[in-house]
Point group: C2
């Protein structure tokens, strides 16, 4: 099922946030950054930041910090974001629209070149600068443009069908925002996003927090 074990998941998840902040700082004209500053920004410990950054192989200057340019380049290379990845997005609803309009992706080496939708009324339109194409064209388009990544934003009920078409067309990694566990061959990688997971975390934090507050009041 394309299950690839990845270590240091928490670190990898944080890398885009470092990258985002480092890009901001570069725009502001800063060229050096030290861990205490990043730690404050990320709201995590300094040691965590240093361990995180060490995964990229960059070395900083003791007493000074890290070169921002080096860090940016190293993070992008570590994630493979220095090479452009072409992707198609399927499901031109509001979530699809939000994703296609997120311009940070360009910075992350992700280029969403077209959106697909089942609705004939949407086909032929332009969404945030990208063409919306009828679903029947998906397979041919992916083959012709040698697309390797698919972003799935369709309702759960049709997700597996669309997934099958993607796989058949040659797509090898799928970013899945539909609420289903997709079945794919072993050489296809799926990353499933479950936004409710974040809500669950927030809910538990609230409960713990209220419990603590109650304790203090006793």
């Amino acid at each position: 099922m394309g299950r690839v074990k990845v270590q240091k998941m928490p670190t990898i998840r944080r890398l885009p946030t470092y990258l985002y902040r480092l890009n901001e700082m570069r725009k502001e004209g800063t060229s050096i950054v030290a861990t205490p500053e990043l730690a404050r920004y990320m709201d995590i410990g300094e040691i965590v930041v240093r361990k995180d950054l060490s995964i990229t192989g960059v070395t900083g200057q003791p007493g000074v910090g890290y070169k921002i340019d080096e860090l940016i380049a190293a993070i992008r290379e570590f994630l493979g974001w220095n090479v452009e990845t072409k992707a198609v997005l399927v499901g031109a609803g509001s979530l699809g629209s939000a994703l296609i309009g997120y311009d940070g992706f360009e910075e992350y080496g992700l280029s969403i070149i077209a959106a697909f939708d089942r609705d004939p009324a949407k086909a032929g339109t332009v969404m945030r600068g990208r063409p919306v194409i009828d679903m029947v064209e998906l397979e041919g388009f992916v083959r012709n443009h040698k697309i390797s990544m698919g972003i799935l934003c369709v309702p759960a009920a049709v997700a597996q069908d669309i997934c099958d078409i993607m796989v058949k067309s040659g797509i090898r990694s799928i970013w899945n925002f539909a609420n289903v566990a997709l079945k794919v061959p072993a050489d296809v990688i799926v990353q499933r996003e479950v936004i409710a997971g974040g809500l669950a975390l927030l809910s538990v934090k609230r409960l713990r927090h209220f419990a603590e507050t109650d304790d203090e009041e006793e």
Copy 2:
């Protein structure tokens, strides 16, 4: 900064997915489920599933499985989702629209009762059945309706300002989809969603996977 340490994060993140699947099964008329089936669905090990479920306190029947009704009730209670939480959403763009339209939230005890936007043209309209209100009304609305949760879907540049208004109005937990680290008082909890984190994970999996495939070809 409202940092609450939460253990068993991976388990908590998975709970909504169990809940979703269990609800599906209940609708299909099933009343008992065993770990092997859930493990296949989640694409994780059986032992993981059992450990995950044990956090809720439910006990299954050896040789048989768990009662689906019991599991659903226990997960909802563990997450505090058996009690309705009223929330407002700020930023009626495409992401906001996607979130407000997600009907799964009702099942999760989350009731988004209104959306707010700076754009006067949007104020007075209805989005997916919820009123869109001008931002200036936010503080009064939150106070009047005793809203405790805010969902932040505004551009990064204005996120801190909106966050400040939320906090001032009495909101105590914020689900933050803006790409910034919010500064909040100690008694306010923030859950930040970084979708690019998932993309980073997918990217690394791809790199590892390709590396493995190359090895095999040698």
